[in-house]
């Protein structure tokens, strides 16, 4: 045995212990948050939470049906705005752009992705709220839609680039024009990946609060159509959590639980879509 092997062993075990503990903490935080939300939110959760409108303070049986529907509407609008633009931009980036243009587009989308969400909220406020004089579901959808674009562009590009060149060549060699080879071969081959990327994109913006404070604002009642202020889950959580009422705090926990469950569900669906798909040979 060499003289310093004891020290070596000690260092080895220390490294193992430190990295292991940090990993446990990293993973544990998710479970801690989950557990805390389930404990606090689960006991405040009831059927009326999903079916009733918010009740005045002191009255029992209030719910957040309007916020759940409101969040759904805002996310639907965001998807309709963000995904087509992001998807087609990604197709251009992967299939048509040359190297320099591609570099610029990637750089710009990464920058857009890094813009703080509250800044996007202010800009949409200035463009879609201030001129018309009121908050709206529509403005909320625009704000979240803008936030979805950069991730959609990049994930679409990534999955399209993973499609083997040999498939493109096979289609072109059969007399298919380039656009047809993209529509009939390249995109279908990458479709599951693109769908899963879209789901993750949606999950990411589902919890955004800051841009909605400036755009959809909030509403204690139903918000018919697209042109009125609307309650959304993240904003309701914010308002209820900072209120002085215990009852509202419980409702905020429940809303947090529902939101997290929704995001986790979207994530799981996305992973499933990806693991089942993309059977493309290498080469």
């Amino acid at each position: 045995m060499k003289p310093n092997s004891a020290i070596k062993n000690l260092v080895n075990y220390t490294m193992f212990a430190v990295t292991g503990v940090c990993t446990v903490i990293a993973v544990g935080i998710l479970f801690f948050i989950l557990g805390y939300l389930i404990y606090n939110g689960g006991k405040s959760l009831s059927l009326s939470f999903f079916t009733n409108l918010p009740a005045p303070v002191g009255e029992i049986g209030g719910g957040m049906a309007n916020a759940i529907v409101g969040s759904g509407k805002v996310l639907l609008l965001a998807t309709l705005i963000g995904i087509p633009i992001g998807f087609l931009g990604g197709v251009y980036l992967s299939e048509y752009s040359n190297q320099q243009v591609a570099f610029t587009i990637r750089y710009v989308t990464d920058l857009l992705n890094g813009v703080p969400s509250i800044v996007i909220g202010i800009v949409v406020y200035a463009l879609a709220v201030h001129p018309v004089g009121h908050f709206s579901t529509f403005a909320g959808g625009i704000a979240l839609g803008i936030m979805m674009i950069p991730i959609s562009v990049r994930s679409t590009e990534e999955f399209l680039s993973a499609v083997p060149q040999s498939l493109r060549e096979a289609a072109l060699a059969l007399g298919a024009p380039k656009w047809k080879s993209i529509v009939t071969v390249v995109i279908p081959a990458a479709m599951r990946g693109i769908i899963s990327g879209t789901m993750l994109d949606l999950a990411r913006v589902a919890g955004e609060t800051a841009p909605l404070l400036f755009t959809a604002l909030g509403n204690s009642f139903w918000s018919p159509g697209w042109n009125q202020p609307s309650a959304t889950l993240p904003v309701v959580i914010f308002r209820y959590a900072i209120s002085p009422y215990d009852d509202w705090h419980r409702q905020a926990w429940a809303a947090g639980f529902v939101l997290l469950a929704l995001v986790l569900l979207i994530n799981i669906i996305a992973r499933l879509a990806l693991s089942r798909g993309m059977y493309v040979p290498k080469g």
Partner: protein, 276 residues
């Protein structure tokens, strides 16, 4: 090494066609290149290639790796245009007309291609074969489409193996079957010329033999150009052989002459296995 004058498997002894080959006389030039130069950026990959391909015959292009034979093959249906930074001068004549001046998609319909590695689409077997018809706006009905698919699979000697699973994914097939599927896919649009880029390099000897038999049968209706690394294969299947070296075509003649009595020493060295 084989003794001079005796190629490893000369066309006369080839059994694939079932009968000895007749002496081949040039009948009709289907496709030809005239002074074809090709550049990747500043690098000249092909130097002044002039070559005639006879209708309803098989022409093999042989030569060591990097000699330009695959590059040359890809120019024949303008697949080189999918690579950026390439430049081509000279003429490529199909039935006397310069394909460089025609619509590229129409050219590729007439001059089909099968690649080194089988590349079926992630679709069903049926959809794979029907793809070329679909993208070229096939006018016939469903029954007519089915007929073309069946005919193409029969021609590619694959029908018996897949007729009960046309709606299954093409990825379920073996490597050799996938390559024959790619041939069927290319045949479905009835190309006048079929280009094959080392189609058997990833296949075992049995699958290779099947494809070679297939080529014999196909030459009745198409003109075939095959790039191969395998000299026995060139000797077995082809009527004419062109030997490429360093971007130049060194020698072109009937396969018998190339393998038994080549004019150039480089050709002889290569076909007898002295280098390459």
């Amino acid at each position: 090494m084989y003794p001079k004058g005796r190629a490893p498997s000369s066309p006369e002894t080839s059994s694939a066609s079932g009968e000895p080959k007749k002496a081949i006389l040039p009948v009709l030039v289907k496709l030809s290149t005239v002074n074809l130069d090709f550049y990747y950026g500043a690098y000249q990959a092909l130097q002044s290639i002039s070559l005639d391909f006879q209708e309803n015959h098989i022409t093999a292009l042989i030569g060591p790796s990097g000699c330009g034979k695959s590059t040359f093959l890809r120019t024949l249906n303008r697949m080189h245009e999918t690579v950026k930074g390439t430049r081509l001068t000279g003429q490529i004549l199909l039935d006397g007309k310069d394909i460089l001046k025609e619509d590229v998609n129409a050219v590729r319909l007439k001059v089909g291609m099968v690649f080194q590695r089988s590349n079926p689409f992630p679709k069903t077997i049926f959809e794979n074969v029907a793809y070329g018809l679909h993208v070229n706006s096939f006018q016939g009905g469903k029954a007519a489409l089915r007929e073309v698919v069946e005919k193409s699979l029969v021609k590619a000697a694959l029908w018996e193996e897949v007729k009960d699973k046309l709606n299954q994914s093409a990825f379920g097939l073996s490597g050799g079957q996938q390559q024959r599927l790619c041939i069927a896919r290319a045949l479905a649009v009835e190309p006048e010329v079929l280009l094959l880029d080392e189609p058997c390099s990833a296949l075992d000897p049995i699958a290779t033999a099947k494809i070679e038999d297939l080529l014999f049968a196909l030459k009745a209706e198409t003109t075939i150009v095959i790039v191969t690394h395998n000299m026995q294969q060139a000797a077995r299947v082809s009527d004419f052989t062109g030997f490429f070296l360093l971007g130049k075509m060194i020698e072109f003649n009937t396969t018998n002459v190339i393998f038994q009595n080549p004019a150039e020493t480089a050709t002889e060295d290569y076909v007898t296995g002295r280098f390459g």
